[in-house]
Assembly symmetry: D2
C-alpha cells in the first residue's frame, strides 16, 4: 500500500502514518519527491485498507498495490482450474453448453426440453425452480416440486442439473435433491451469508456477476466461497447495466479476456439474459466463444411463446440446434471444441 501525503504534510504527520503501518506488523519505506512524500507499506498489505489512512491528518490518499483477492487469483495459482461435473469438464478445451428453460413449468415441458437440449449436444441442463422476480405478483417458481421435475427430466439423458438457490434456508433441500451445480443469481452476488453457506458444501457453484459489479467485487464474491473451502467455482458473465436502453444489458466480452488473466477459475457466459431477446442469442453466443468463454448458459424452451417467464428470450429447440452447429465451427476456429449432437428419439422432443 502507498500513502500519498499532502504537499504541506509535516514530519509529525508522516511519523503518525509510519507508526500506524508498523502497528499492523508491516515495514515502512519513505520516498520524498519534489511535490509529494510517498510512504510505502512493505509486507502483506491485505491487512491494511485505505480507509485506515485517509482520515489521518496530512494524508492526501492511499492506495492498494496488490489485488485484494488471493485464493481465486491466477497470480497464486497459475494453472487453470477445471470443474468436473459428473464428467462434464468446465474450464478445459471443450466449451460446455448448459441449456434449458428459464423456469420449470410442467413435466411434459421438462421432458421435451431435456430431450431437445440433449439431442443438440448440451452437456448440462438448466431450469429455475425458485425464480427471482421483480414483481411480487408474478409467477415465483414451482419450488421444491420443480427440483424433482428438473432432476427427473435431466436424468433420462444423464444431464447434470444447474438451478438457482435464492434462500439460504433451502440449501439442505438442494443437497437432498442432488442438485449438481448451484447457481447464485446476479441479485445475490453480494448476499454474503448465502456465499458463506455454499462455501461450506462440496457442490460446484455458478456465481453470476452482479449487474453492476466490478471485476474486483465479483472476484471477491468468489473469494467468499473459496474461503469457506469450496473451490469448485464457475464465474458467469450475464450482461451489465449501462445507460443503453435499446437492449436489456450489455454483454461484457472484455470481461472474459480480463477474467481469464486475473483468475484460474472457468468463466462462462449467459447470452440469454444479456440481450433479453431470442434473436440476439446467436450473435452473442458466437462472440462469447470467440472471446474465449469456457461455456454458455442458454435458455431453451420447447415452445418459447408459451413460456411462463422470459418468453421473449428463449430459443426453440430447432433454433438451439442450429446455433450449436454454428458454435462448433466458431469453437474450432479458436482451437476449442463443443460436444457433438446426440442421438435422441425425435418423438421425445415433441411437446406433449
Amino acid at each position: 500500500m502507498i500513502i500519498v501525503m499532502q504537499p504541506d504534510a509535516g514530519e509529525a504527520e508522516i511519523a503518525a502514518v509510519e507508526a500506524k503501518i508498523r502497528s499492523h506488523g508491516l515495514d515502512v519505506h519513505i520516498s520524498r519527491g519534489t511535490e509529494r512524500t510517498l510512504i510505502g507499506a512493505i509486507g502483506d498489505e491485505r491487512r491494511l485498507d485505505p480507509e485506515m489512512f485517509d482520515p489521518l491528518p496530512g494524508v492526501e490518499r492511499s492506495l492498494h498495490i496488490l489485488k485484494p483477492y488471493k485464493l481465486v487469483a491466477r497470480e497464486w495459482h497459475k494453472a487453470s482450474t477445471i470443474v468436473d461435473v459428473r464428467g462434464a469438464r468446465i474450464g478445459g478445451s471443450e466449451v460446455q453448453v448448459i441449456a434449458g428453460p428459464c423456469s420449470v413449468e410442467t413435466v411434459p415441458q421438462m421432458q421435451a426440453a431435456a430431450a431437445g437440449v440433449a439431442s443438440a449436444g448440451a452437456r448440462l441442463m438448466r431450469g429455475g425452480a425458485f425464480k427471482p422476480r421483480t414483481s411480487p405478483y408474478t409467477f415465483q417458481g414451482k419450488g421444491v416440486e420443480g427440483l424433482t421435475m428438473l432432476k427427473d427430466a435431466a436424468a433420462r439423458y444423464d444431464l447434470p442439473i444447474v438451478t438457482e438457490l435464492m434462500d439460504v434456508r433451502m440449501l439442505d433441500t438442494f443437497l437432498e435433491h442432488d442438485v449438481d451445480v448451484i447457481q447464485i443469481g446476479t441479485r445475490n452476488m453480494q448476499n454474503f451469508d448465502l456465499l458463506k453457506e455454499v462455501g461450506k458444501v462440496d457442490v460446484p457453484v455458478i456465481l453470476k456477476r452482479g449487474m453492476s459489479a466490478t471485476i474486483s467485487e465479483w472476484l471477491m464474491a468468489a473469494e467468499y466461497v473459496a474461503a469457506g473451502g469450496n473451490h469448485r467455482i464457475i464465474l458467469c458473465e450475464r450482461g451489465i447495466r449501462t445507460f443503453e436502453t435499446a437492449y436489456r444489458n450489455v454483454l461484457d466480452v472484455t470481461a472474459v479476456a480480463v477474467m481469464k488473466k486475473e483468475t484460474h477459475l472457468p468463466v462462462i457466459i449467459d447470452p440469454s439474459h444479456a440481450g433479453g431477446k431470442a434473436w440476439m442469442v446467436p450473435a452473442l453466443s458466437c462472440a462469447a466463444v470467440a472471446a474465449g468463454a469456457d461455456g454458455l448458459l442458454i435458455e431453451v424452451h420447447p415452445c418459447p411463446a408459451e413460456a411462463w417467464c422470459d418468453a421473449d428470450q428463449a430459443l426453440s429447440i430447432d433454433e438451439f440446434s442450429t446455433l450449436m452447429t454454428k458454435l462448433r465451427a466458431v469453437a474450432q476456429a479458436v482451437g476449442r471444441s463443443i460436444a457433438p449432437a446426440a442421438n435422441v428419439v425425435r418423438e421425445e422432443i415433441a411437446v406433449a
Copy 2:
C-alpha cells in the same frame, strides 16, 4: 398495455394478439394508423407482461402504460405516509436525523456515540452489528452481541435503534432484541426472500436503494414488503453507481423529488455512503434536505480515525453537531424543521 404491430403484420397476427389479451380477461381496442397498427388492452394490465406478446409473430414491441407498483404508489394512496417510530415521525414536517457509527465496536464507543448524537439532536440511532463487507477477510461485525450493545447505549437517551438485517435466519433474533427499525441494505434490495419475511412483521423497514437500481425496481422491492402486510416502509437513497471514479457514488437528489411524486412513503438520504468521505457529508446533507428528503442517515463516530470500518466517512461528534445547526437553517428555509439539540452531560460524550 399497448402492442405495436410490425408494419407488415397481417390480420391473422392481429387476431392472435387480440385472442391472447382476451384470454387474460381484458378487453381490446385496435387503432390502425398510417404506419403501424396499435392494439390496446383495456382493463387491469398488471396481469399482462410485454414478454407475453413480444415473441408472437407480427409484434414489433409492447409496452406498459401503467406503473407496475400499486400499494406503494401515490396514485392509489394520495396522502403521505408517516412512519412513527416510538414518537419519531418520519415523513411529516420534521426532518428526522438518524446517526451513529458504521459498526458497533465496544461498549464505551457506543455510549459516547449515543450521548453525542442525542446531544446534537438526532432522534434515532444507527449502528451495524452485522456488516456486509466486500472482503471475507475483514471485520464482519460484532453480531448478536452488537445488537445488545447498540440497544443498551441508545436506551439511555431513549433513542430508537436502526440496524441492518442481512440474513433471514436472524430475523427472530432482531425481534427478540426489540430492534426498532430493520434496515435492508443496498446489496439486499432484491433479496426477495428477505423482503418477503420483513413484510410479515410489524417493525418499520428502511429499504436502501440498490446501487444500480432504477426507481421502478426500488418501488417494486418496496411492493414486496407491502404485499406481505408491512406498510411501514422508509425508502433510503444512498448514492448510485456511475462512470465517475472521483467519489464512491453519486448521490441522486433527483430521486428524492421523483419518489415524493411516485410514492406516498417517506424518503430519506444516506449522505455518508454516497460520497464516501466525511468532508463531503455536510454539502450532501444540506442538498438532501433542500431537495425535500424526510430524513438523513449519517455516520458519526466518537473517534473517526479509529473506526473499525468506513473510518474515512464518519463525522466526529463535534462535526455532526455543527452540521445539525446548519441543517436546521436549511430545513427552515424549505418549510421544515429538525429537532433541537438536547441537554446531555458533556462528560458522557467523551470517548472512554
Copy 3:
C-alpha cells in the same frame, strides 16, 4: 508516477524502466517490497504517461500520483476565482442566477422573458440562438438573427447575455455581437479546437460538463481554455448520464463539493437540463444552492407550453419568481445571498 513491476520482473527490466524515466529528465527511486518492486519517478511527472511504461516488459501497471491539471487546480491557486461579468460577480458570496428561454424565438417572446427574469432577480440572461439538436429535422435555432434579439431584449434591463457557441467559425460573429458569456455545451466539452479558440479571447466561458465526463476530463477541458490564456472560466454541472431512465439525467451535486475542492474556478448548476421536467427544477435548484453552487442556469419562458424546444422543462415567469424567493432563503441558510427582485413594470412581462 509509480511503476509497479510484475512479481517476476528481473533486474534488466527494472533498469529499462529506470532508463526511460531518466531519459525524460526525472530522478528515480526504487522500493523493493516483499511482493512487488515499485519504481518512483521524482520530478514533474506530468511529462510522463502510464502508456509509456505499461507496454514495457516486466511492468504490471503504472499510475500518476499527481492530478493532470495545473492552471485550474486549487493546489496551485488557493484563492477562489471570481469571474466578473459587467458587475455580476460569479464565484463570490452572491449566488448568481442566469435565466431565460431555451431558444430565442421572437422579439416579443424575448422581451417578455427579459422583463420577467429581470423582475425576479436574475442578474444575467440566457437564450440559445444556435441549438444542438439530436435530430436534423427539428428547429436548429434562429442563428445570427437570434443573437441580436437576445442582446436587444437583455439590454433593456442591463442584463449580460449568455449563449452557446457550437461552431468555431462563428466566434467572430459572437465577438461582434458583444456576447458577454460564451457557453460551451455538453456535447462540445471535448471539442478541442473549439476550446483552443475560446481560450484565445477575452470573454468569460461557461464550460458545461459532458454528459459522461469525469471530473478529471472536465477539468482538463478547462485546462485547454486556460492554457490558451483565458482564465475567466465558469464550470457548469448539468446532470450526468446513468442507467436510470425515469428522468433524463442525474444531477450530480457531489460534483459541486468535489469541484470546489479541486479547482479555484466557480461552479454553477443547470437544473433544467438535469431533470428535464419543469416540476423538478425547484427541488434541484434548492439542492444545488445548499450544496454550495456559485450560480444557477435556469430555463424560463413566458409561455412554456408554446416553447419551440424543451417546452416541458421551462418554468413560467411566475414559477421562476416563486422559486427565487425560496432560493434566497436557502442561500441565506448556507451563508450566501441572491440578488433581490427588481422593479419592472408589470406590463412588460406580459406575453405580447
Copy 4:
C-alpha cells in the same frame, strides 16, 4: 405518437391535446380505458415531439411509436448498403480490416507500418494526423504534414487511407489530400456542424459511437450526415463508458447485432480503443467478427513501446499478422471471409 392522459383528466384537456395534434396535420384516435385515456396521433408522427404535449394540463406522458431515424433505417431501405472504398467493399461478405498506427509520427514509421499491415492482409490503412488528446500538454498530432506522410506510405501498397477530422475548417485540406475515408471521432459524434459539413461531400465517413451515446443518438448522428446527401456512412462501435474501471471501455458487441437490424449501413468495431490494452485486442477482434461486424479498425505499430500515443494498445506487426490468421478462421466459421496475406518484401516491414 401516443399521449397518455392523467387518470383525472377532463374533456377540455383531452380536447386541447386533440386540437394540438390536428394543428400539425395529423389525425386523432381516442381510446378510453378503465384507468387511462390514450390519444393516438395518426400520420407522420416525426413532426411531433413528446415535449409538445408533456407540459399540457392533464397529460401524464407521451411517447413515440416510431423510431426517429429514417434515411439510415433498415425499415425504409431493406438491402444492406455496401460502401466501396476504391475497391475495398465494406458491408458485404468480406470483413474488412483497417489497420495502422494511432498517430502519424515519422516517414520510416509510416513506411514500416504500411508494409506491415499490407502484408498481413489489411485492405485499408489508418493513422491519425490530428489527435484529440485529453490534455493540452501532450502531442497533438503532426497535422497537415501527417496527412502527406500517411498518404505516401499507404500509396505504395495501394491502401486507401482513413484519418480523423476534428475541425470543420480542415475539411478542404482533407479533400485536397485525397483522404479516402473521413473518420469522425467519438468526442465529435454530436458535433452537429461537423456532421453537416461531411454530409455535403462525396467521401465515405466512419462515424464512431460517442462513448455514452445510445443506439438512437448514434443513428440520429448518422441521419445528420445522410440528410446532407452523403449516404456512404460506416458506423464504428469503439467501447462504451460504464462503471467498470478494470478496463478503459466495454466493447458493446450487442450493438453489432442490434445495429445490423436497425440500419442498412455497415457496422465495424474498433477493438483497440475499447479495451485499451494490446493483449485484449485478439479476443475482442474475434468476438466482433463472430458477432457479425463488417470490419475492424485495429491499431498496429512497427514498435509499440515507442509509439507517441496509446503505446499500450497497439499490436506489433507480428502480433497483427498472427491475429489475422485467427480472424480468417473465425470469419469462415460465420460464413464470411477476410482478404489473404499479401506478398510484401520482408525488409520493408523492418523499422528504419
